[in-house]
């Protein structure tokens, strides 16, 4: 290594790296791999792009530039038949939200909704403090307070609002909430009953669960509406709005029970044995060891179930309850706002409403599932 050889054929500096060929990097490579990997794939891509070009821009134009955004009545919408009639939605927003609930009293609905939403966030936020307190508030204190707030009570100085006036998004949310607040405790009991050692308890739970899961929701609503008054002593006429709520609570409990049972089954047997070896009796074992773990495991399933329930609340209109969709249907009947674009606009708005809620919930559920699976991943 004393002197450099006169013939140097070894590089002293590395050659600069060449970039990858154009066809194997960037957008072009991605398109080759994902859009034009074969002849069939290319044809599909071209076909779908053509379809999208034919379909999407007119739809967007219908919903935005061609739409009527503000009008006093349907005349303008009848004149612009190539666009949506959002003015109709804006005009009816109060009715779609609250039904015929008196305008001066709507703050009560808003307050209930805000408290309910806050409690739900408390319960569903991963790692929120003192969830047990939240659960007690949500499943016990909140329903009682909400009842007096919404229904009204002379003692509190709140005028009574007849349930006939309730409607819109408010009723949709309320029915869905009842479907979880009252049916989750019942569902947990049924799930425990189905896994019980006692044969009659097990049989009773199985019969209840399989019966309600085997019949359509509509028939349960019909039953609650037509048969409940017959099964109660004369004079105990249950409220017209209460009957479907009873139906929903009983129906949804059967589905939640199956979900909870899945959680109970997925808990390792060692947890039960450890609880028993500590000398805990059945109720303590369930309350302190098993349920806190099992219920967290089934949160995604419960949320998925709730999505189904939220969609099913649309069916309550068959027994005369004005939920959001029924309120929309009533709004269609306004002669001032008749026109060919009213129906598509209304249904599009309703679809957007349900989609936003259900999609958000399904995202939460999927995220929660990943989070829960993270602990068990090896």
């Amino acid at each position: 290594m004393s002197a450099m050889s006169p013939v140097a054929y070894v590089r002293t500096a590395p050659e600069p790296e060449l970039s990858a060929p154009l066809l194997s990097r960037g957008a072009l490579a991605w398109a080759r791999a994902n859009l034009f990997s074969s002849l069939a794939s290319s044809l599909v891509t071209i076909g779908l792009v053509a379809l999208a070009l034919w379909f999407v821009p007119p739809l967007l134009a219908w919903a935005t530039v061609n739409a009527v955004w503000s009008a006093p009545d349907g005349a303008l919408c009848r004149a612009h038949q190539d666009g949506a009639c959002w003015a109709f939605i804006f005009q009816k927003l109060g009715y779609l939200g609250y039904g015929s609930y008196p305008v001066a009293e709507r703050w009560r609905v808003n307050l209930t909704g805000a408290v309910g939403a806050a409690l739900i966030v408390w319960l569903l936020w991963p790692g929120a403090p003192r969830r047990a307190v939240g659960a007690w508030l949500f499943f016990l204190a909140f329903p009682i307070a909400a009842f007096f707030l919404l229904r009204g009570s002379p003692l509190l100085g709140l005028p009574t609002v007849d349930t006939l006036l309730w409607g819109g998004v408010f009723v949709t949310m309320l029915t869905a909430l009842v479907g979880i607040v009252f049916s989750l405790p019942l569902g947990v009991l049924l799930a425990l009953g189905r896994r019980s050692q006692l044969p009659i308890v097990r049989l009773a739970s199985v019969v209840y669960i399989e019966f309600l899961r085997g019949v359509p929701f509509i028939t349960v609503l019909f039953m609650a509406n037509n048969m409940l008054p017959l099964f109660l002593p004369a004079g105990w006429e249950p409220d017209r709005f209460l009957r479907p709520l009873v139906g929903i609570a009983l129906f949804s409990a059967a589905y939640l029970a199956e979900e909870v049972r899945g959680g109970l089954q997925s808990l390792p047997g060692g947890q039960y044995e450890a609880a028993m070896s500590l000398g805990l009796n059945y109720s303590r074992m369930m309350r302190l060891v098993v349920l806190p773990q099992a219920l967290v495991l089934v949160i995604p399933g419960l949320v998925n179930n709730f999505i189904g329930l939220f969609k099913d609340t649309t069916l309550v209109s068959i027994v005369g309850v004005t939920d959001f969709l029924a309120a929309m249907d009533n709004a269609f009947k306004d002669a001032l706002w008749s026109g060919p674009t009213i129906l598509p606009t209304g249904y599009a708005f309703a679809a957007l409403f349900y989609f936003v809620f259900c999609y958000a919930m399904s995202r939460y559920s999927a995220g929660m599932e990943r989070r829960l699976a993270a602990g068990r991943r090896r």
Binding site: A33, N34, L35, S37, S41, V44, T45, L48, V49, Q197, L198, P199, I200, V201, A204, E210, F211, R213, G214, V215, P216, F217, I218, T219, F222, M223, N226, M227, P229, L230, F231, L232, P233, A234, L278, G279, L280, N281, I307, K311, D312, T314, L315, I318, L325, D329, P340, L343, P344, Y347, A350, A351, Y354, F355, C358, Y359, S362
Partner: protein
């Protein structure tokens, strides 16, 4: 507590632990609050703590409570029904119904009985459910496989479809198809027309109606023979392949065996099948096979909605087949089609079938949404009109729910048979 253990905090902690343990033991031993009642009945404490005695007592309580509830409801129902003059038995079953039904698979008129109306409703429900199942399955499989396609845009389109269907209520979709699409179509004079074969207007969908003449029976017979021949050839080819390793083109032969005999029979029997097409006469269409808008909207809504759910089931099933299976199939040189057909799908089916059958049950149950758009299914005819006319709510609802329950349990039973046969057996 001796002094060996240590100082300060450690000692305190241990003491607290021991105290808690003692408290827990104490609590566990203490008789429950209800014990007083049972001790009064002459039971000893040891019998009280016997789990069998307790279990028996709890179950007796449950039976008593349920019996009391049923007795209470039953008694009230009898009193209330008598007070309102509602019939108690099933006497109404043979009475004249007096209402018309616009779509019926069996003979029915306003002079038929309530019992007849029940069968009309049940058959209409089964018809819609069967057709929806038959159409939703292939559509769902297609969308599910499209979601896994290497073609990005196809996968995205399938995903958008699935999310849209799964996240909006079925009722909203049905109302949309019925009120906003089918009812908004032009009248019969401006029907949407596909070459005169298929016509669509606000009176429904009109398809060609086949008219069977003399000798038409030969065609289904030929078809049955063709299918039998195809199955026989497939079995033979499989046996031969297992013995010799020589594969056969089963697909093409089977296709020929199924398609050719009916065509030959059609011509041999002197072309006995004719078609009647819908034609405009006056203000309405006559001839052809008319599918009512209610029926068309219900089937279309059920199919597109359920296909979204089936697609997710199919995707999950295919994805659950482990990657090693794909690699093994590639390693032994199977083509992509063979890999799917011989390796992936048989394993995925085991995971797909159970949730798929529960979707079938859902189709049957969801067909009850017919009541919202006026398709005369079991719920609309029986739990609706018949109930309103006879007021026999208890009997009518019991029969209606019993029918749905029977259908659901039958499908569940079939699924259990399938599971018993096809679940993986651990060795």
């Amino acid at each position: 507590m001796s002094a060996h253990i240590g100082e300060g905090a450690r000692k305190g902690k241990l003491r607290a632990l021991l105290a808690r343990g003692a408290a827990a033991r104490h609590l566990a031993r203490a008789p429950p609050p209800v014990a007083g009642i049972w001790l009064g009945c002459g039971l000893t404490t040891s019998q009280l703590n016997d789990s069998r005695v307790r279990g028996f007592a709890y179950q007796a309580l449950l039976v008593a409570a349920v019996a009391a509830l049923i007795g209470f409801a039953w008694r009230n129902a009898v009193v209330n029904m008598e007070a309102r003059g509602i019939p108690l038995g099933f006497g109404f079953w043979n009475e004249i119904a007096g209402f018309n039904i616009n779509m019926s698979l069996i003979d029915y008129s306003a002079l038929s009985t309530y019992g007849r109306a029940f069968w009309v409703g049940l058959l209409n429900t089964l018809l819609v459910a069967a057709i929806s199942i038959a159409l939703a399955t292939p559509l769902g499989f297609a969308v599910g496989i499209a979601r896994l396609s290497p073609n990005w845009i196809l996968a995205k389109v399938a995903q958008v479809y699935v999310e849209l269907m799964r996240n909006t209520p079925l009722l909203l979709q049905l109302l949309f198809w019925y009120n906003a699409v089918l009812k908004a179509l032009p009248g019969p004079r401006q029907s949407l027309d596909w070459a005169g074969f298929v016509l669509l207007n606000n009176r429904g969908l009109f398809l060609p109606r086949p008219l069977f003449g003399e000798g038409a029976w030969a065609i289904p017979l030929a078809l049955a023979l063709g299918i039998a021949a195809a199955l026989g050839y497939a079995a033979h080819a499989r046996r031969r392949q297992e013995l010799t390793g020589v594969p056969a083109r089963v697909g093409w032969v089977a296709l020929a065996a199924i398609l050719i005999p009916p065509v030959v029979a059609y011509f041999a029997a002197g072309r006995p099948v004719d078609f009647s097409f819908a034609k405009l006469s006056g203000f309405n269409l006559t001839g052809g096979l008319q599918l009512y808008p209610e029926f068309a909207a219900l089937v279309f809504g059920l199919v597109t909605y359920t296909a979204g759910f089936i697609a997710e089931i199919v995707r999950a099933g295919v994805q659950a087949v482990s990657r090693g299976q794909t690699e093994a199939a590639e390693a032994i040189g199977l083509s992509r089609g063979q890999m799917m057909r011989l390796v992936i799908v048989p394993q995925a089916l085991r995971l797909i079938i159970p949730p798929l059958t529960s979707q079938y049950v859902n189709i049957v149950k969801n067909s009850s949404l017919a009541v919202f758009i006026g398709y005369p299914d079991l719920v609309l005819i029986f739990a609706g009109t018949v109930l309103n006319q006879t007021h026999a709510a208890v009997q009518v609802m019991a029969v209606t729910m019993g029918v749905y329950l029977a259908i659901s349990l039958t499908i569940a039973f079939a699924l259990n048979l399938f599971n018993a046969r096809y679940t993986l057996k651990d060795r």
